[in-house]
């Protein structure tokens, strides 16, 4: 920890970072007790975009809750759709045809790359670099066009259904995926030369925001935050769902425990997602896209079910309690950024303000997902 936590001299002052602040990417307020420019204590305050999805889950039928999942983490909405749909399929034991599973994996990984690209642009913008944001958005626009041609929407998707997907993909979507992967693969070295190898950025990220494996375990941090602390935990590999076991992709793990490690994890994950897309587009089978006997009214048997999925920010889990009727009895949404943000209060002690923002950027927070 380069920044030494000075003993809190008498005149500390309280600085409110947010809820309107360019670096919080949403309405998060962090109450910082500052001594000069050093942070003595940081306490995130939530609730500014709390819409109570869990109560909506209780007074909507199982099918009607689907659009809500896209509104929680709008950067990786398809993973949230995927998790909710898999949960109900597990509860009501509905079979999903092969082609639908492949389409789900392809669109999910495309959405993960678009989420990582947006994080990359916004993160370098927090550190002061403007141009990489525009290059990243240029690439992200390709993905949004691809997904729009299939799902119809660009950000908050509602494309998956219980037992399959809303409608089929055609050949030029698959060719579009191949062309996109080729284009992004040729652009990645440019990102690394412009940003990763830049001495200013390296000085900004190395040894900043120290979150080690033990702190991750105590705070339940998952996703790139845990993988940046040397923990090899990825729900796609660890608790396999859908057809992920059929693809070979590796999980980037960096033992650095600092912002640079978390940054590198996400950059490598984009490469892995591209590999998955290539394999999935190559091996997509023909066949129906919707399960033949998907029941119109979903009435899962009594009891509670849990399903977890790997989103761009970590493991997103839903615990649904069903009482046999067609509306859920209780819908608990375990979002990854909620646990990742808790580490900020601990890790930001004694840091400088710009370093704390580098740390917050490396956590890749999406505030509506924290507040639900």
């Amino acid at each position: 920890m380069t920044a030494i936590a000075q003993s809190a001299s008498s005149e500390t002052f309280v600085l409110n970072l947010g809820p309107q602040h360019p670096a919080t990417h949403g309405v998060l307020r962090v109450k910082l007790v500052m001594d000069g420019e050093y942070i003595v204590e940081a306490e995130p305050v939530l609730g500014y975009i709390h819409r109570m999805h869990e109560k909506m889950g209780e007074n909507r039928t199982w099918a009607q809750f689907l659009p809500n999942t896209g509104r929680m983490d709008y950067l990786h909405a398809l993973a949230y759709n995927h998790n909710y749909v898999c949960l109900v399929e597990r509860a009501a034991s509905i079979e999903v045809p092969e082609r639908a599973e492949y389409i789900r994996v392809i669109t999910n990984e495309l959405n993960r790359i678009s989420s990582h690209l947006l994080w990359f642009g916004a993160f370098v913008l927090d550190l002061g670099g403007f141009s990489p944001l525009l290059y990243a958005f240029d690439d992200r626009e390709q993905i949004l066009d691809l997904l729009e041609s299939v799902t119809g929407s660009r950000l908050t998707y509602c494309y998956f259904r219980f037992g399959g997907v809303y409608n089929d993909v055609d050949q030029d979507f698959l060719d579009g995926c191949k062309a996109f992967v080729a284009r992004l693969r040729e652009r990645m070295p440019m990102y690394h030369n412009l940003v990763t190898k830049n001495i200013i950025l390296m000085k900004r990220l190395q040894d900043i925001g120290f979150i080690d494996a033990e702190m991750c375990r105590k705070y339940g941090a998952t996703g790139p935050v845990a993988r940046g602390a040397g923990i090899d935990f990825d729900v796609r590999r660890h608790e396999p769902y859908s057809v992920y076991p059929r693809f070979d992709f590796d999980i980037p793990v960096y033992p650095g425990c600092d912002s640079m490690a978390r940054y590198m994890v996400r950059m490598d994950e984009m490469e892995q997602s591209m590999r998955i897309i290539e394999q999935a587009v190559g091996a997509i089978p023909e066949g129906p896209v919707m399960a033949a006997k998907a029941p119109k009214i979903i009435k899962p048997p009594k009891g509670d079910y849990y399903h977890a999925v790997e989103t761009a920010r970590g493991s997103f889990g839903i615990r649904a309690v069903s009482d046999g009727t067609n509306t859920p009895y209780r819908m608990k949404l375990r979002t990854p950024s909620f646990s990742n943000l808790v580490t900020f209060g601990e890790a930001a002690k004694g840091m400088l303000l710009p370093d704390a923002l580098a740390l917050m950027g490396s956590l890749d927070l999406v505030i509506p997902e924290i507040d639900r």
Partner: protein
């Protein structure tokens, strides 16, 4: 009463300089937005006037129409004094800059010293403005501005001392005439004085960036941390005057670089020296300043001070000692 011709000439020069600074500040904003646009594969302002040339005029009018609100509890005198103290030294620096053989307001023998004396006053303006606006973010940025400018004043002045030693005079007109002839006469390539001359130019350029709070060193006005830093509370023309002061400082910094290192108004091939060469070199340097801004992220505060105390100052001292040794020997 008769007006002394010298006084009239000076008056005309002052009016000319203020006009130059005002239009320059406006059109440097336009250049910056156009260049940032093209670097980021987009176009930049295009709607207002041909190629967006009237956009700065529109921005200026918009700034002037805004109401100047003084925050409650702020020290209104310091609040108003801030922008003034940033703008006037910038204008004063233009007095002794020789734009061409004949175009100079007042060719002082200690022209170089005068410019750098005025250049260090704008820190005071930023500090007073930030402190007067009673805003936490402004106070943090004021503390940063002061220590940043102090840290970067020293290597800049060491390089200036080396250049004075090489050219032997502080009179800017003679500095440029000593570099007459082709570009091999320019100070940047004067390897006879010291092989590290291009490095000295680099150090001067980096210090000039830090001095005007630009590019990787824009800690004072760090958008993503301190919202708008020292001038968070300045609406309308208060912010406009700060902006003009900043761009005037850039013009002063780049023109000093042109004079000291790139041979002022001399033509690279020694054919038709004149004002146009001075402006070409200056705007090339300004293009680089903007280019650097849209490429690099911002440094943190302690690595900024590390860079100055651990890299720039030692190398500047080495250059100083080397030059004095070589001058003694040759």
């Amino acid at each position: 009463m008769t007006i002394d011709s010298e006084l009239l000439r000076l008056l005309l020069y002052v009016v000319g300089f203020i006009a130059f600074i005002a239009t320059n500040a406006a059109y440097l904003v336009w250049l910056e937005r156009k260049e940032a646009g093209h670097i980021q594969c987009r176009i930049g302002p295009k709607e207002v006037g041909p190629f967006g040339l009237l956009q700065p005029v529109a921005d200026g009018l918009k700034l002037m129409t805004k109401q100047l609100i003084i925050p409650k509890g702020a020290d209104s005198f310091l609040f108003r004094l801030g922008p003034v103290l940033v703008m006037t030294p910038a204008v004063m620096c233009f007095v002794t800059i020789p734009y061409s053989d004949t175009i100079v307001a007042r060719n002082l023998d200690v022209g170089l010293l005068a410019i750098f004396a005025f250049a260090s006053v704008n820190v005071l303006g930023l500090l007073l403005g930030a402190w007067g606006s009673r805003n936490k973010y402004a106070v943090i940025s004021a503390a940063r501005v002061v220590s940043q400018n102090v840290a970067y004043e020293i290597p800049m002045l060491i390089v200036i001392v080396t250049m004075v030693m090489v050219t032997g005079t502080m009179n800017l007109h003679e500095v440029v005439t000593s570099q007459n002839g082709g570009f091999w006469h320019w100070n940047i390539f004067r390897f006879s004085a010291s092989p590290l001359m291009p490095v000295a130019f680099l150090i001067y350029f980096v210090c000039m960036l830090a001095e005007t709070n630009r590019a990787p060193f824009d800690m004072a006005e760090a958008e993503s941390e301190l919202v708008a830093g020292a001038f968070t509370e300045y609406p309308g023309m208060g912010f406009g005057v700060f902006f003009m002061g900043e761009y005037a400082n850039i013009v002063v910094g780049t023109s000093m670089a042109t004079i000291l290192f790139l041979g002022g108004w001399n033509c690279p091939f020694g054919l038709w020296p004149g004002l146009h060469w001075f402006l070409i070199k200056m705007y090339a340097l300004i293009f680089t300043v903007i280019w650097i801004r849209w490429t690099f992220p911002r440094t943190t505060f302690y690595s900024l001070l590390n860079l100055s105390w651990k890299v720039l100052i030692p190398v500047a001292f080495a250059n100083l000692i080397l030059t004095s040794a070589l001058l003694k020997v040759l």
